[in-house]
């Protein structure tokens, strides 16, 4: 199984750029990297997904180096509403049991 390692928690301030790095040293060739966001008392919500290089959407960017052993979620100009838990997942399309939500990174944004 492609296990992921993320920081347990991070703090930042409104208006800053936040980068959360996830390590996945044993990622397989056909694995994709996906990030989810979870607010208290809600189910997780998809943020972004990528396979290699860089992916950008309206809320975040995902940077994946050539060796794919890590990935970095970048949140530009965060606000208080970005306070949440962020999960990095690594897995392929066919097996749900091999896509593991770890403990995530608890991001706290301060005024």
């Amino acid at each position: 199984l492609a296990k992921t390692t993320q920081p347990i928690s991070m703090d930042s301030y409104e208006g800053q750029e936040v980068n959360i790095t996830c390590s996945h040293n044993n990622i397989a060739t056909n694995d994709y990297i996906t990030w989810y966001q979870q607010f208290p008392s809600q189910g997780p919500r998809f943020i972004i997904q990528g396979y290699k290089t860089k992916v950008t959407n309206e809320v975040a960017s995902l940077f994946i180096p050539a060796d794919r052993k890590s990935s970095t979620l970048s949140l530009p100009r965060v606000s208080l509403s970005d306070t949440a838990v962020y999960y990095c997942l690594v897995g392929a399309g066919s097996s749900a049991s091999k896509i593991i939500f770890g403990s995530g990174t608890r991001l706290s944004i301060r005024p």
Binding site: Y32, T34, Y36, S41, Q42, G43, P44, R45, F46, Q49, Y87, G91, A92, G93, S94, S95, A96, S97, I99, I100, F101, G102, S103, G104
Partner: protein, 114 residues
Amino acid sequence: GAGVSQSPSNKVTEKGKDVELRCDPISGHTALYWYRQRLGQGLEFLIYFQGNSAPDKSGLPSDRFSAERTGESVSTLTIQRTQQEDSAVYLCASSLRNPRNEQFFGPGTRLTVL
């Protein structure tokens, strides 16, 4: 359109009782997942349904846990002879085809076993 719905939103039961949790996925989504989330923890995969294929039950923690799905619609997670360690939020998600597709989560059912 309607998202994933779950019922009940909260369930309090006594140790030893059976409970049934319901999930209504997004229409047209062939894949359905159940997860368990204990307080302050990440999500634990329980079971995965994909169309008419045999479900992936590899995450079920014991034989007290079972789940069914009717075609590509409603799913029910049943926990028999509940124990206090079963207390958690049970989350259901659906996706268009497979786990790599974006999973849409329901609000969860908070189960408390006294």
